[in-house]
Symmetry: C2
Subunit: 195 residues, 2 copies
DNA sequence: GAAGATACATAACAAACGTTTGGTACGCGA
DNA sequence: TCGCGTACCAAACGTTTGTTATGTATCTTC
């Protein structure tokens, strides 16, 4: 077994394993031994790359965040509401990978509720997500796709709420919320906004 | 300090303590010792009333559920959409107790993601909640408050998603989502449904 | 090819966990 | 008043946790 590998790449491998254990068993099932076993290694490997479990989790979530943002997104077939539609579809658990990702973030809410630092991170994450929706809402307003008196910030918050709420429902009841229906509900919601 | 107390009442006391620890620290911070300390007792007391931690949690969630349902609800000032509005306001974290309750349920999602039995319970809970929204949606349809071609089941799922999504946002960002704004967003959403 | 840093595995550590055990204090029927 | 069952505490059990210590290959550099 080698030395001189790519240190950062290995850290990313470990984060990936953290991610997968998290998706499979939630924060309650996230132990160093579980992560190590999942990647066929020992806990010594983990401690070699991360000083503590908390540091490991923090890095894994950062990596996850980049992965979330750099995703092959649904192409927005237009400005305004179509863009909002695409942004919402981006967060839906439509594929197995997206399901895993959603599971991790929902799981993360529990950990964040009990830890101030993680709660602050979750707050920022929410702001960033609303920030991604906002341009589309503002464009829609400019294009007259929304009632002229609509408050953009309220529309953003409403859309963000609808999106995450639908994610949770789909996560717990995939039979009732298959990808096709998730997409249909998103379409219906966006149509609702546009009068 | 023994004897002939009301056994069931004591079990409810314990469940209440579980509830409070859960609201404060999430599932990750729920330990028998924490619960015992919270009620100034020993872990022996807990095991005296419950055979295992899992049984304890199960009972606590059942009690919580009854408490959720038997809540002093917002009076529905009308049939159809006003009723839907009231039902949505009922789940919003508008008061400290409602905040605690919402924290517990969000926290519960993590535990449910890693445990099949809890996941099934969460699925049922969701069905029950949609079941509470459905009559209002159907009444709204009957009263012509919704477009005649609207699918009631889709409207229910959309409203349920919006509701829970807003709960999560409000939980993590109470400054941005004070009670007044939560209510305003619910009003805006219901108005959206009614054209 | 010797020296030293790197990359792990293995094993031990104290702490915390859920659970079990043993004991004591009290209420109640006899 | 005796005896028994309930209610509970205190302590200990074995396991699992995150962390630390030690050991051993492998690579890099000279």
């Amino acid at each position: 077994m080698p030395a001189r590998g790519d240190h950062d790449a290995r850290r990313r491998d470990v984060s990936q394993a953290v991610w997968e254990v998290l998706a499979a068993h939630g924060f309650g099932g996230l132990t160093l031994r579980a992560v190590a076993a999942h990647m066929g290694a020992s806990t010594g490997l983990l401690t070699h790359y991360f000083p503590s479990k908390k540091a490991l989790v923090r890095h894994a979530l950062e990596v996850a965040q980049e992965h979330t943002q750099g995703r092959d997104r649904f192409p927005a077939e237009g400005e305004g509401l179509p863009g909002l539609r695409a942004a919402l579809l981006d967060v839906m658990p439509l594929t197995p990978e997206a399901v895993a990702m959603s599971r991790v973030w929902v799981s993360f809410w529990d950990a964040a509720l009990g830890d101030d630092e993680l709660a602050a991170a979750e707050l920022r994450r929410y702001e960033r997500w609303r920030g991604m929706l906002r341009p589309h809402v503002e464009a829609a307003l400019r294009l007259g796709q929304l009632p002229a008196d609509a408050d953009p910030e309220d529309v953003v918050a409403t859309a963000a709420g609808f999106g995450h709420g639908l994610v949770v429902q789909a996560l717990f009841d995939p039979a009732r919320f298959p990808p096709r229906r998730q997409a249909a509900l998103v379409d219906g919601f966006v149509a609702l906004l546009g009068r």
